[in-house]
């Protein structure tokens, strides 16, 4: 017989399994008491299926098809990618449902779409047209400066951005089934995403070493619900899937976020604002799978053409600091 197994598994994407926080609410399907729709299990479960994958921003059906062919595990449908929202300014809102529906029709992979922070009616509309996931996103102009959407009220699952552990756990307590870093969208600059992921991981490590007494105090300090903080400390990771987002522009950026412990990657402006979108998209998909294999990373990073123009993140940043939206 033999040694029980544990082959060491690299840290990061998908290497740790993700238990789900217990269902907080489930909706019974009318007329069929034995099955239930929209449980937390199926909401967080879809995020688990996206792990190790890349979710790409697309503005039309043609881009969505390019993303699907390049191996995207989902697409985010929106009218303007963050780099354009920055450049043109004004209030950024939910996209036209007809444009989102065209993208849903064009691809077989899950389609996500963004709503403004706190705008629960935009979320009701997206649920009604059959989108697969909603991003309550700081990239759009917030509709409510105090309240996020009560996401338990929806059958459709939500992903939300977070800069630190407290913010992530507040979003999960509101019903988010999926967390991403905020990063600084539309800049092509990965520094903020790295800051946010490192903050989350560092706070998780801290919490994991704490006694129960200390967790009470820590929950107060980071303004997180105690039961979710305890669960996080026990699991030594966020209780839902955690992706990187905001400023990822190259395969190396994507692999960096994976090695820092993310389960997958969102790429917004980084693909369709670059020279050869299809090639770059495919390279980033491969980089996320082989994030721990520098030889493959080198191969896929070759000859990708021009990356999107990067912006320095300082007080003069055009379009402002999106990551500071949300509370």
């Amino acid at each position: 017989m033999t040694s029980p197994a544990s082959t060491p598994v690299p840290q990061g994407a998908g290497s740790a399994s993700t238990p789900s926080v217990p269902p907080t609410r489930s909706v019974q399907r009318d007329g069929a008491a034995s099955s239930s729709l929209g449980t937390f299990g199926v909401k967080s479960g879809l995020a688990q299926m996206l792990k190790g994958g890349v979710i790409m921003d697309v503005v039309n059906a043609e881009q969505a098809r390019i993303a699907e062919e390049a191996g995207a595990c989902a697409v985010m449908a929106l009218e303007r990618v963050p780099a354009d929202i920055r450049a043109t300014g004004g209030v950024a809102r939910m996209s036209d449902p007809s444009m989102i529906k065209e993208i849903v029709e064009a691809v077989t992979i899950p389609v996500m779409a963004k709503v403004r922070i706190g705008h629960f009616v935009e979320a009701q509309i997206l649920q009604a047209i059959g989108v697969d996931y909603i991003d309550e996103s700081e990239v759009l102009t917030p509709a409510d400066e105090e309240h996020h959407i009560n996401k338990h009220n929806f059958k459709i699952p939500f992903v939300c951005g977070a800069r630190n552990l407290g913010e992530a756990l507040r979003r999960i307590s509101e019903g988010a089934a999926f967390i991403r870093t905020k990063g600084e969208a539309g800049t092509g600059n990965v520094v903020e995403a790295v800051r946010h992921e490192r903050a989350v991981q560092s706070e998780i490590r801290k919490a994991s070493a704490m006694s129960e007494d200390e967790l009470y105090a820590f929950a107060k300090e980071i303004q997180a619900p105690l039961h979710l903080l305890k669960e996080t400390a026990r699991l030594k990771r966020l209780p839902v899937v955690n992706f990187a987002a905001g400023g990822i522009a190259t395969p190396a950026d994507a692999a960096l976020m994976m090695q820092l412990g993310c389960d997958g990657v969102f790429v917004g402006s980084g693909i369709f604002k670059s020279g050869d979108a299809a090639k770059r998209a495919r390279a980033i998909v491969q980089a996320v799978t082989h994030y721990n294999n520098p030889k493959i990373l080198a191969e896929v990073s070759e000859n990708l053409g021009e990356a999107m123009v990067g912006l320095t993140i300082d007080d003069q940043l055009k379009g402002g600091h999106l990551a500071s939206r949300g509370w």
């Binding site: 399907r29 069929a32 879809l46 299926m49 994958g53 191996g71 459709i156 799978t289």
Partner: protein, 248 residues
């Protein structure tokens, strides 16, 4: 004796998807010292394995990553020789024919003589959980919680002579089925209703079938790895993997 069970997730064997969940479920079986689990991303990883689990995820992504990693042909060869279990996206990849595929079609690995429809229930808001009666599992009196996420639907179970017989392992409760008619099917509904099963006993509605076994392959349209119940993992090892290893 070491049995290596390769869990394929993600864009190949750990390519994209819920591979870590399968790994954890399978590792709970490791205490008996018979099962070792590795993640498969390359052909070298695959060569270590006596069996393979292809996880949930996006089947288009998994197939593309398999091709880019040079794993497509090795996987097809593997399926001809060794036990493989596909869940959800993995089930699609094991099927002979898929409907509702992306434009231009999608690559399959094949291995099981069934036709399957992608996203057979519709979008994510139609994803659901349902209790399943599964007589082949340990403690069969306890229902198994089936988690169906944008799940595929079996359209026909064919029985060509060159394939081993298909054995139905689990069906949905009858009161769930009326809701299972795809809301976004591109084919007219008659196509969905008119399907005949060639199984023994005949007249079985394949759309209710959510787990089948064919030879040493196992197919589930739901996600046993998302529950804490590892009876399906135990079943795969006991029924599909170990008998083949003992006979060689």
């Amino acid at each position: 004796m070491v049995y290596t069970v390769v869990i394929v997730y993600d864009s190949h064997p750990a390519l994209q998807g819920a591979f870590a969940e399968h790994q954890k479920s399978q590792e709970r079986l490791e205490s008996n010292g018979e099962v070792k689990v590795v993640q498969v991303r390359t052909k070298e990883d695959l060569d270590k394995c006596d069996a393979l689990v292809i996880p949930g995820g996006e089947s288009t992504t998994i197939a593309l990553l398999a091709r880019l990693s040079g794993l497509l042909d090795p996987l097809k060869e593997f399926i001809k020789a060794k036990p493989v279990w596909g869940t959800c996206a993995g089930a699609i990849l094991l099927s002979k024919v898929v409907t509702g595929a992306k434009k231009g079609g999608q690559e399959l690995l094949g291995g099981m003589s069934v036709t399957i429809a992608r996203n057979g229930w519709g979008s994510q808001v139609e994803s659901f959980e349902a209790p399943l009666e599964v007589p082949g599992l340990k403690n069969p009196e306890d229902p198994f919680s089936g988690v169906f996420i944008r799940a595929p639907v079996l359209l026909s179970l064919d029985q060509p002579p060159e394939y081993p017989p298909i054995q139905v392992i689990a069906r949905l409760p009858e009161n769930v089925v009326p809701h299972a008619i795809p809301s976004d099917a591109t084919e007219p509904l008659e196509t969905w209703f008119g399907i005949n099963s060639n199984l023994e006993g005949g007249g079985e509605d394949p759309k209710r079938v959510v787990a089948i076994r064919q030879g040493r392959h196992l197919l589930t349209t739901f996600h046993p790895e998302l529950t804490r119940d590892n009876r399906f993992h135990e079943y795969f090892v006991r029924e599909c993997v170990i008998p083949g290893l003992l006979s060689t």
